[in-house]
């Protein structure tokens, strides 16, 4: 009973549940989605949940914004510090998202796809082509890895020079 | 006792090549034995042990008999030991002297082994 009480009866805790749910959605997106842009979006949701956590921390029930008002003393106001910190966090989040999206653009250019499983296969093939030049002493000879790679159309250039 | 062997080297006859000399020696030896035994009657041997520890020691001819019996026993026992212990000379593999040059039947006149290189310094003459 106490758990249910904790969940529902205690007022205000629902915010945290919302934040946790949001975080889980974000993480789920990162984990389960193969598309790189969707992962970035998941990441964004995850970051938002963290930001919301801070906002919730700073909130004082019934408090106003922490703005100095002429002639009013003993005003109940929310803790401004977490909110201020979130300005930074939001900037960080934007920067991260921007950088991630920029990377996906480059990946799309280089590989012609943004599906992570296909990218992984391409990368493995590249790795193995490289390794083929360098037979490893511990690899038993004459034991070819007969893995079939699906044909993926490779677009873009092989890493164009110049941003 | 080894009279006939000397002739094959054609050297002069030596003292014991003559069986007569050997025979004389043996007679002299027996005489000595008799005299030594008789000494027991001439002298009183004071016993090695004090008191009655080993009375048999004072018996006449104890040492003579003990010496004789001991040696016969020794030889007979040793002879029996051969049946158990004797093995061929190369039982353990190598034989001493096997890799050294064996003198060829006669005397080694200079005492130098045929493979003098490897045995250098074993002897350098007089």
């Amino acid at each position: 009973m106490s758990l249910l009480e904790a969940l529902l009866v205690q007022r205000g805790l629902w915010v945290y549940w919302a934040i946790i749910t949001l975080m889980m959605i974000g993480l789920y997106g990162v984990i389960a989605r193969d598309h790189l842009v969707k992962k970035v979006m998941g990441l964004n949701v995850f970051q938002s949940s963290a930001i919301l956590l801070y906002v919730a921390i700073g909130k004082v029930r019934g408090g106003t914004a922490a703005i100095l008002l002429e002639g009013e003393e003993n005003v109940l106001y929310s803790n401004p510090l977490p909110h201020v910190l979130m300005l930074t966090a939001i900037v960080v989040g934007i920067a991260t998202t921007a950088l991630a999206l920029a990377l996906t653009v480059r990946i799309q250019e280089a590989y012609g796809t943004l599906e992570e499983d296909e990218l992984a296969r391409l990368r493995v093939r590249e790795d193995e082509e490289e390794a083929a030049l360098d037979p490893h002493p511990f690899d038993p000879p004459g034991e070819p890895e007969d893995v079939e790679y699906p044909e993926v159309k490779v677009g873009g250039g092989a890493g164009g020079a110049g941003v | 006792m080894s009279a006939d062997a000397s002739s094959k080297n054609g050297d002069r006859r030596h003292l014991w090549d003559d069986p007569k000399n050997v025979q004389i020696l043996i007679w002299v030896f027996w005489a000595c034995c008799a005299i030594v035994f008789a000494l027991d009657f001439a002298f009183h041997r004071h016993p090695s042990f004090e008191g009655e520890t080993l009375p048999i020691e004072e018996m006449v001819g104890f040492y003579s008999i003990y010496g004789f019996v001991a040696c016969v026993l020794l030889v007979l026992v040793a002879k029996q030991m051969r049946k158990v212990l004797m093995r061929s000379e190369d039982y353990y593999g190598e034989v001493l002297g096997a890799t050294a040059g064996e003198p060829d039947g006669g005397a080694r006149d200079e005492g130098r082994a045929p493979d003098g290189e490897s045995r250098e310094g074993r002897d350098g003459g007089d």
Binding site: I31, V124 | F49, L54, Y63, A70, M86, Y91, G106, A107
Partner: protein
Amino acid sequence: MAATETHAQYVMGETVRLLDGPLQALLHPALPLLVAGVVAALAPPRLRKALLVLAPLWGAWNLLGFTSGDLVSAELAGFELILLRVDKLAFLFALLFHLAALLAGIYALHSDDRMQQVAGLLYAGSAVGAVFAGDLLVLFFFWELLAITSVFLIWARRETASTRSGLRYLLVHIASGVLLLIGAALHWIEFGTLVFERMDLGSAASWVLLLAIGIKCCFPLLHTWLVDAYPAATELGTVYLASFTTKTAVYALARGYEGCEPLIWIGMAMAMFPIFYAVIENDLRRVLGYSMINQIGFMVCGVGLGAGLGVNGAVAHAFNDVIFKGLLFMSMGAVLLRTGRINGSELGGLYKTMPQTAGLCMVGAASISAFPLFSGFVSKSMVMTEAAHEGYVVVWLALLFASAGVFHHAGIKIPFFAFFAHDSGLRPKEAPLNMRVAMGIAALLCIAIGCFPNALYALLPYATDYHPYDTTHVVQQLQLLFFSALAFVTLMLTGIYPPELRSTNLDVDWFARRAAPRTLRVLAAVGGAIWYGVLAGLADVLKVVRSVVRWLHSPAGRLGEPWPTGTTVFWAATLLGLLLLFSYLGSAL
């Protein structure tokens, strides 16, 4: 020679003792021989030969400057080491060793073999060092040096058999040294000192040390190295070997275990069993080897009988044994040198061309048989008398038996089969002059000591007024010896005496040389089968392990390949979840 504080100093160590006489710098007694050995290693042949003779003389002269009570100690790594401790016992042995080194040096003059000359000198020097060692560590040092230097005298024969024999010899003696070191360590632990003094059997150290000394001393079952190695050495090498190793061991025994009763019985066994082997042994030097164990038996017995006549007898007998056994080995060495053979079955009739050697050999034989007027008589009788005096009937009878037996094999068999018996047809030249000189000196000493024993008695560790030449003694001994000879003659004439046969007679080393290797071979075969089975199994396991490792870690493996981003994040989330659960449970408790 009172140790007064004036001048003269030791080169080694710290203690400075001043002698009454002219300014005299004394070397550690072992140094002249050791230095000569080192110099000989680099010297031309003539100088080497000179050193062989001069070094023992120089050493003896140097030795005479010392007197009982002299002590030289040095500190090494926190241990107070007694490099030199002079008392009558050590002095006598040192003098003996110098004498033996001199005789062997003269005996060796015909040879040019650097290896033997150097080894001989160093070997003699180590023996001197060992008897003057005041503590167990120094003793250990010289103990091992004895083993290492002497083995070259065996290897110098340069035959396959002797090389292997030498290896066995070295192995045994290194083992003895290691035991000595272990014993020293135990002694240090138990008593907090390394000083080598008389010990009571009982402490672990004393038993280990007894075993170490016992190996060198040829205790029964530990004796085979002697009869294995001595016949394998060169004619010269055996002369050296016969003088030092076992006598050093006797010295150590006299120093550490004087009056230990078990030694009486050990000595008795040692005096008894080899004579049987000696009768049927063909190799005459091996016969002498067995005879040597028999003689050491008398000495061990004497040490066991304790202070006074017992130890005196043991020490005196050791002194005489070095000379007469040396003489016998020298004569056999001369035979070996001149004929190239040493088996009784192949020899005979050599008196014809080697009469002097034969005569000298007979002097040695008379001495070892303890004929009156020969040296053996004056020392062996001391042990016998003491045994009777102490009331050991069985021991006395056994020793009497052994005395008869000694005459039988060493006194009669050696000269008879080598120089007389049937004519082998060999007509070798007489032994080289230097050999005859060495043998002559030895023979002279045998007779001199036999006739004038008091000079030797004066050197003995305990004061004695023993008189060997009373009628009873002489008569007893003559009866014993003549009737032993009578038995030999009778058995010879009746053809009962076992003929000399080319053969190997099994001794306890059979266990080491035959049984153990065969057992090992069987074990190895069985073990090998098991091992290969295990290896095959291991190989399979390894194959599985390797494929698992590959599956996990190779670039395409589960852990080796870069995971998709999602997987890593999943793990991060999982780890966080686990940690939260962990903390939740932790805080809930």
